[in-house]
Amino acid sequence: MSLDQTETGRQQDPGDSGVARAQRSNRILDLAIRYGFLTLLVGLVIFFSVFANGFAGPRSAVFVFQSVAITGILALGVTCTLVVGGFDLSIGSVATSAMMLSAYMMVVLGQSAVVSIIACLAMGAFIGLINGLLIVKTRVPDLLATLGMMFLLVGLQRIPTEGRSIATGMTMPDGSTADGTFSPLFLQLGRHRFDFFLEKLLPVPVLFLIGIAILVWVFLELTRHGRLMYAIGSNERAASLAGTNVNRYKILAYVISGVLASIAGMLLSARLGRGDIASGTNLLLDAVAASLIGFAVLGAAKPNAFGTAIGALFVGILLQGLTMMNAPYYTQDFVKGAVLVIALVFTFSLSARRTGSH
């Protein structure tokens, strides 16, 4: 509130030139908020193209996209829950659970790719449904409900194999050998590359990322459902009084998030070619960072699909560029943190000042 007071104080300055100056600085601020982050992104690309050997070029662009495909898809899921004023901490572990489940289905149970994919999607939707019901029906706060789900899944995914990673030829707890293999069709999900100008350029996960980003963007920005979800996020009570079925949309948001997380998990499994024991905490943190950075893109100051995709890309460009310049691993977390802090300053300080002055 003190922000408002300083703004009104400034507007009461005597003299026309003062008003004009204030208006001009407002316009510059507006531009900075709207395009600052995109400018930074372009600047980063130019910087690495000059200084990082081999950064400029279609192949580098593709693997930057590939490196963020999985976190990007997860981040789009987080964005959907952020839109309804919720939060999903379980996405990382849903993803790793889907990875384990797909490997278990194929390697241990000898199922086909299609059955495994359906099972993973069903699991993602089911976990999203449970999350939603916990939050809506039992009134457990979203952070706590999904935190609980996260721990539950981290444990659950290890029970069938007693904590071992799943690979063809592994020994099961009962002493038998699992001799199923990953279906080639399933592996293509993570490994196939489509020809696009260059031969074998575009990997499938990148297409998934772009496709899902467009779908989520269309859903949130252009459909009535999406706008109602934003309405719930900004004022749940008002939305409910206006006749929106708040509970149903909240559950829907968690189901979307669960399904997207399971897709990310399958892509991960197809890339690695095995079921890897992992808690998924790093996936969660990176995804949350990407969707929060997304707040700052185009000065949206709210969760949005375009921003999330750009946010994920931004982190990807930074990390890949730094790796190419031989920067050690600990600088990467530092850089991620710095980007996030800058983005949050963009969002909360600058945008708040802008809305305050209008």
Binding site: G57, F63, T168, T177, R191, L268, G273, G280, T323, P328
Partner: protein, 351 residues
């Protein structure tokens, strides 16, 4: 006469015990020195710092198998990477009245005093892969320096004495630091080896994160011929990236550690993963228990008990048609058993 009677008594006790518990590895209980003449009364605790992952799972199975062969009562306390909790768990084990403790990984700072408290309480302690700076606590080691040396010697044998290398390393992890010492020595010994890039991360899933990094490194340094990734999760990530970049036949990967998944990755047609050096984590687990058992009988296993590693090449795996860890133990006997911490009375787990 008296001696004979005691032996007979012990024999009977042993027979009774083996009859009661079943035909485990207890047939020789009578031959074992005190306190293993009554193995059921011996309690040992395994206090763990790291437990997630195939290596630690296999280590635990080795500890369990050897404890069962001895017939002792094993308690497993798992601190799940919480250093303070691990120290508390040592106190908990002291309170439980155990005879011996195996400390598995951990931080010197937090475990040094905890180990001392256990020793003061008259408990025998051995430590695996953590230095508790106590002369009364023998160190079990899987000789990381030898692991790295074996893999690098193979790299030199395959590629000659001068090549351009990519190196995957994260500082501050004790076994990786020890492997790093060997890498530095090798670079000095063979000036022709040029390290073009050093990278690495422990963000999990590690293989996926390392694959992303490797793509960048290969793009920036297309002339890399050899990747030294002295941890199998690193090597898996490097292999994914090498395959994705279409450089499978141009780059060779040398690593350390092995698992069933690693074996199938190494055996893929034209796999870039040329060799790995490994100790069998299950054997390391068995050796840990045996060293503790020797201590408990008043013997001396030595200040450090080293489990020697085995070199595993792609060719070995293909020639012997090895598909998983069980095949590996069956076809390479040096991998299935280490003669470290052995005595003539020591019962071994069934193979």
């Amino acid at each position: 006469m008296k001696l004979l009677r005691r032996t007979t008594l012990a024999l009977f006790a042993g027979l009774a015990a083996s009859a009661a518990i079943g035909a485990g590895g207890l047939a020789h209980a009578a031959d074992m020195p005190a306190p293993f003449d009554k193995p059921g009364d011996v309690k040992i605790a395994l206090v763990r710092y790291l437990s997630t992952g195939d290596f630690f799972q296999a280590y635990l199975s080795g500890v369990e198998a050897q404890a069962k062969a001895l017939g002792v009562d094993l308690r497993v306390l798992d601190s799940r990477q919480d250093a303070a909790l691990q120290a508390d768990m040592v106190d908990q084990a002291i309170a439980l009245g155990v005879n011996g403790i195996i400390i598995q990984h951990g931080l010197t700072e937090s475990m040094k005093e905890a180990a001392q408290r256990a020793v003061d309480a008259g408990i025998r302690v051995v430590a695996f892969d953590v230095n508790v700076e106590n002369p009364k606590v023998p160190q079990i080691e899987q000789s990381d320096r030898d692991l790295a040396r074996l893999a690098l010697e193979q790299a030199v044998a395959d590629n000659g004495e001068s090549w351009k290398a990519g190196y995957v390393y994260v500082a501050g992890i004790a076994p990786l630091d020890r492997r790093d010492e060997t890498w530095k020595m090798f670079k000095e010994k063979y000036p022709g080896i040029e390290e073009k890039a050093m990278f690495g991360t422990l963000d999990n899933p590690i293989a996926n994160s390392v694959a992303n990094q490797t793509r960048s490194v290969l793009q920036a340094n297309p002339d890399i011929q050899v990747m030294f990734a002295p941890y199998d999760e690193f090597a898996k990530g490097v292999k994914i990236a090498v395959d994705e970049a279409g450089l499978t036949s141009d780059i060779k990967i040398y690593s350390a550690d092995v698992s069933t998944a690693d074996i199938s990755a190494m055996r893929e047609p034209d796999s870039a993963w040329a060799a790995t050096a490994a100790t069998n984590p299950a054997v390391v687990g068995e050796v840990s228990v045996r060293a503790l058992a020797i201590l408990l009988t008043g013997g001396e296993p030595g200040a450090s008990v080293i489990v020697p590693p085995t070199l595993i090449t792609q060719k070995m795996l293909n020639d012997n048609d090895i598909k998983n860890m069980e095949d590996l133990s069956a076809k390479l006997p040096q991998f299935a058993h280490a003669d470290a911490a052995m005595t003539d009375w020591m019962p071994l787990p069934p193979r």
